[in-house]
Symmetry: C2
Subunit: 269 residues, 2 copies
């Protein structure tokens, strides 16, 4: 909430534009501009916050990419939604997401094996042929309820660390972060798959039942792959949401080349 002549951005955040963005986000959430209302002009905001127009534009770019406001030449920005909470870690980490929705996350390691990587895994994790990988199978729970099965393939550097974690560790992501493994980019593919025997046994569903699948390949800030994972959710426990605008989109449909059982199931580049 900013003042009339406000210049106090007492907020915590690091850079100036982030603090401005956080302040504007709060004001929008508080309904200061109404849903469908208009934001002040960039110049006015610059004056109010005592920063340059460039910094204001940087802050507004954040809100735009979050789907909070529109932007087009000639008119003031329009407020699209009143709130929206989403962070990178919430999508990447089951634990982080569970906590953000007020549920108690759990994770039980069902198996962890070390074995040579197959061709697919070498390609995805950018490993030399013959390299070894660590493969985990975990049951994830929300407040004790089984919700998701997680199969993850780690490259050696990361897998060695994972192998040392306790079997009931809740958040691998957070523990790996403490060891200097940073997740910074990820590609996700969402589709539908049918439960196999492991799935049905652990999730308590019938074999062949449809599950929502999310596959993901994550890299560190240097672009080096750190995990390749396949998560299978019980129906009704989760939905994925995305916002895109004509200005900047991140999501796309991926085609499954129809009745052609020859090629392997490759929906990830």
């Amino acid at each position: 909430m900013q003042d009339d002549d406000g210049a106090q951005l007492v907020r915590d955040g690091g850079s100036l534009y982030r603090r401005v963005a956080a302040d504007l986000r709060e004001a929008i959430a508080a309904g200061s501009y109404g849903s469908g209302g208009r934001l002040p002009a960039e110049g006015a905001l610059a004056q109010r916050y005592g920063v340059s127009r460039g910094t204001i534009r940087q802050a507004l770019a954040v809100l735009r990419s979050d789907g909070l406001v529109t932007s087009r030449r000639g008119t003031r920005r329009v407020v699209l939604g009143t709130a929206r909470v989403q962070s990178f870690s919430e999508l990447l980490s089951f634990t982080s997401w569970a906590r953000s929705v007020g549920e108690e996350p759990g994770g039980a390691m069902e198996s962890l094996v070390r074995r040579p990587a197959d061709d697919r895994e070498c390609e995805q994790l950018r490993l030399e042929p013959g390299a070894e990988v660590y493969v985990t199978l975990r049951l994830r729970t929300l407040s004790g309820r089984p919700v998701m099965i997680e199969r993850t393939v780690y490259p050696p550097r990361v897998g060695e660390l994972v192998a040392q974690l306790p079997a009931d560790a809740v958040s691998h992501t957070e523990l790996l972060l403490e060891h200097g493994i940073v997740f910074s980019d990820a590609d996700h593919t969402i589709d539908l798959v049918h439960a196999d025997t492991d799935d049905s046994r652990l999730l308590g569903c019938t074999a062949g039942e449809a599950l929502l699948r999310e596959r993901r390949r994550s890299t560190d800030p240097a672009g080096v792959p750190v995990e390749w994972s396949e998560d299978r959710y019980l129906p009704g426990t989760v939905a994925f949401t995305v916002h895109n605008s004509i200005a900047a989109s991140a999501l796309s449909r991926r085609h499954r080349p129809a009745p052609d059982p020859h090629s392997p199931d490759v929906t990830r580049g």
Copy 2:
């Protein structure tokens, strides 16, 4: 592909940074920097293209949001992927997407009714209570194969135009665009649903079979809702992909509040 001292950006696109981005994208796709390789420094690129560093940074922001390159302080940018094609329209329009993957899109209008909007629809389309809406049910096909059922609710202004389209019109989005209806922002929710009798009849699947569902609310550049749609895909015909980075994300998980049959099925804000 840029030259050693290149300054020729003969490309079509409008703004300078877009042409630079397109040029860099091509160079990356051509493998000029290798996968996992490093881009030249911003300053070097600025000199090469004869533009300011700010413009280069604008171009690189495009590539970063497409998941093509990383970026972190202290090091040159790293190439993440070699290619990635995705546009806003591909996600929004079944027709546009189908064409981009080389399939022949089709659409058959099964029904179109005009009726008063319910509370949910008024809220989603930001209409006054008692306003009327146009509701369509369409079967979408790829090269003749049934693939998806599309249920769309339009506000009056848009619905009146839709009602005048031929029943076998392939792309409503494109035809509406010719009438000045522009889709510029959309919120998507992806989850799993079971086929009802309409679904099974039109898609040729068994009732109760699991389908991949995408719900979407789209607005025009002024933030005014122009459609609220629910699409149901046959399993195996489509997968949704998304890229996100610690810098900017657009996707999130949405929680389904578990065994509580009281509250209506609201997974969209």
